[in-house]
Symmetry: D2
Subunit: 310 residues, 4 copies
């Protein structure tokens, strides 16, 4: 069984897409292929059933089936499972299922409601109470999607009071200063380290690493770019890391379009052979012929750029 | 079997709460009692699994069980079923189940995403395509909760192009002018009438009726107030309708607090004997002792006011 | 000169409308009449240039002219001046002008930006630094308008660290529990009392007083209702206070419609003779003939209700 | 005098920053130098007093002074003036001043309020009425900042009904499909062309040009990148345009951070000698030492990349 996430987890946890058939059913064959694709490109772990995994359009049975398929394929590779849900009962049930099956931890975003920090704080305490203290939690901080910005002080307070909140999925935007503030807090001896993995498609990954992030938890369709950037950075080859990363920015920023970017991502994954259909579940974004040609062009330009370097 | 909703439906469709036990399970015994309570107070129909029914915290199985229990109890009384869901497949499946069981129609709010009217329009067309033309649809227009304000022109366009969109659950705020605009549009011979039932806890019900609304679709814990107001209004006794209604405003406005109001509503329903526990599902609002005393006071004041009149 | 606001201020600070001519100019004659109207109905103080005073549609010169006219008329009556502005320099300049002219304090809402409490906290510290420690500040907590909900802990922290933050304009919704929480905090000896005056049109004023609020700071066109409710409550005649208040709720809830309510308020003030024109500045809400008739009806109903009691 | 903007305007209208001294005063000397800097880098025109020009933190007098200084320096170069304001009177007055001084047109974003398209449509009609038909208007479509997404149909309707609405500042995100939709509409003979200049820092400029945009209206601190990209594209050298552009993306995406990006932009402009101080007006973003070092690094990397190519 895979190790669980902890306060020192680092590397690249790829946010896995969920492949569907053109008719909208979960395509488990593609899902296995996609897991192999991610593993083949060297990721440290997977995060499944996140926002970009379209979990909110699945039934409970479907979510459990995705967990089954992925965990049967990943072996020792750690898998974090997104369990955010409007209902705490549903959240807890899915988390229990995932942990029993061998997940490395769960990811939770603040529940909908006013952006009052006391409410969000109370929510995470309730989540931890309901999960029990043994389930490692990754706090997903993604205000662009949740509408709920939070201060570093709140994240720290929760992480200090709840030993199980070991990781931050960092995707506030702008968010570079937040990393610096969180790392600065950890200079005090009584403050426990947080693992910080960065999202937002990885758009600022070199800067985030340079400010102390431990890696990436995001879903770029070229996972090797994230993997190599983090590896080079960890090896102290900071400039090389950024040189490599910068070659991918043009297509990465294209994939990073809110909402629509998921269609681009799945299209690229399909073109790269990782999944059979690029379909998203309705109501989800769709690629037009022009969108496809535009993405083809960006892919071809990337390949040419990478070939130059070789 | 009950009649389906149509463009001339009027009266009071009470938004039904979902009773839970203190442990969070659906309390079907209370649900039956609650249905009897509503029927006993003269409602025209029920709307179940709406936002105030906490549907988004239930599993699919639980939603179907609620449909079963309610429809087994309502007989000829029409029941509209809220089917809003982030996934179109889940929405359609629940709608099919509900219609097969004898529901009178389904209620759909715009899906989350940007407030662009072309997107919302496309969404409702996709919903209607997926449901098929025989399922009557109530458009829930509740910007305070969805963050998606829409113009009367959009509602009308959809209702003209999709014969099955027969009803508006009107809860824009302010929204009185919207009713007037919609009724004005209907003076053109090619424009099909829309049934307009008003939400927002009924806070402006007399004004809404005076502007041409057909009744209420909302969830006040004193359904008899809604029923009598609409009945008096329909009988042409406009002043009496408003006199009666005004006596309930103090507690109605207390129940109308966003989010928290659900706890008040369930508390009053419990005190009135309609349900056993006032619990909402986590994360839901909870009543403190002070909240309860405050509501007790408002209930007592209402009773005294009503007694004066007798 | 009037007393400044402090941590024990109580009573009714009426949010003053700004009268315009039908052509959109500030109508200073009406403004004087309106001040007399408010004073004649017994208000404790005035708050000018707030959101409902349409300050954001005025030039700096016009704001200063309003301050001049009002302060020349109010004598010993304290006047709080809304100084919220996207720029801190503009805010400070207007505050200095107002205080020099004899204002009792200034009112500031959080500046636009993400709802991160650390950002809002930093903003109020910057405001206090820029104002200097001698200017009393009222913190306007109005999330429905600002999009910035804040926790009681943040309000308290600011009020403890900045002696000049002496008052809360409370208009969170729901907000009753917030009052209770703030008063509970004050049981600790090191915590300084805050004056809490309630907004939101006064919709929950009796409940707010019963939970420990010091009065109202809001803009109902029947200021005597607010004044008498607070006076009766302060005299320990809690039931009478609520009896009186409840008679006004039907029209109060009509005036409380977001955005549009300002047109209702100005229309009622015009009908009551307090101002000459009900015009709001463009782009502002306008009353249709139907809106006017509807409001006339609500006014007539109120008068009949009040006459019954006499 | 410069030509006015029209439906065929193309090129790069740089969104001009407003330089302030460290004490917060407008630095007119730097403003002149900045104008020269922009002109020296080949821009087609300037847009002043936009959101990134911090116009909302200035007084009316200051805005007029900025207009004076810039128009005295630009000669034949067209200057668009941002005139958005909560009050229609203020908006009109500033627009009149700007046009009298020789501005090429005005830019207006939808006013704050609900995202109902009928409201926004009515607002722009009121704006055009108030401006009179001779003032060319650029519709700023920036939902990330205004919270007001609009459909292409609304933009087109306004542009058809109001001959003066000649230009779209396109910064919806994602927005590529919107350009395609707008250009598609223009295939109908009765539809008048719109000039489309793209914002969002230029993050997708090559794609936008390839879909039919006429250029850029945005504020990157390397205006030459925008100018050369547009020029190469217009010369039919599409690949070269994108090759050139891609070299700038790493720093462009850094400058594109919402809110904070303005501090980066002003810092780079200062380092490039265009302005004396990088200060933004309070409450505005500030660069820490780490932020500065990070930006220095990105600037150095850009210079190295550009040198390689030469």
């Amino acid at each position: 069984m895979a190790d669980r996430i902890n306060r020192h987890t680092s590397g690249v946890y790829i946010i896995a897409a969920t492949p569907f058939t053109d008719q909208g059913a979960i395509d488990h064959e593609s899902l296995r292929r996609l897991v192999d694709f991610y593993i083949g490109h060297g990721v440290t772990g997977l995060t499944i059933l996140g926002m970009m995994g379209e979990a909110n359009k699945m039934t409970g049975d479907e979510r459990r089936a995705v967990i089954d398929t992925v965990l049967a394929r990943t072996g020792d590779l750690p898998v974090v499972v997104g369990v955010s849900d409007p209902g705490l009962g549903n959240l807890t049930n899915l988390a229990s299922y995932a942990m029993d099956e061998g997940a490395a931890g769960v990811m939770v975003a603040p529940s909908a409601g006013p952006a009052r920090e006391d409410r969000i704080e109370g929510y995470f305490h309730a989540v931890c109470e309901a999960l029990g203290p043994d389930v490692p939690v990754c706090f997903q901080d993604f205000p662009l999607a949740t509408g709920l910005p939070v201060s570093p002080a709140l994240i720290r307070r929760l992480s200090q009071e709840r030993a199980q909140i070991v990781m931050l999925k960092h995707e506030d935007w702008p968010g570079l200063t937040k990393i610096t503030q969180l790392r600065k807090q950890e200079e005090a001896p009584e403050v426990a380290r947080l693992s910080i993995l960065c999202g937002n498609g990885g758009l600022y990954l070199p800067q985030e690493l340079q400010r102390g992030a431990d890696g990436a938890m995001t879903g770029f369709a070229y996972p090797e770019a994230l993997v190599q950037t983090v590896a080079l950075h960890q090896a102290g080859r900071v400039d090389e890391a950024e040189d490599l990363f910068d070659r991918y920015i043009p297509i990465l920023r294209h994939e990073q379009q809110p909402g629509f970017g998921l269609a681009v991502r799945k299209y690229v994954l399909m073109k790269r052979g990782a999944i059979t259909s690029a379909a998203t579940r309705a109501p989800g974004p769709k690629m037009s012929a022009m969108d496809a040609a535009e993405t083809d062009r960006l892919m071809a330009r990337l390949e040419a750029r990478l070939a130059d370097r070789l």
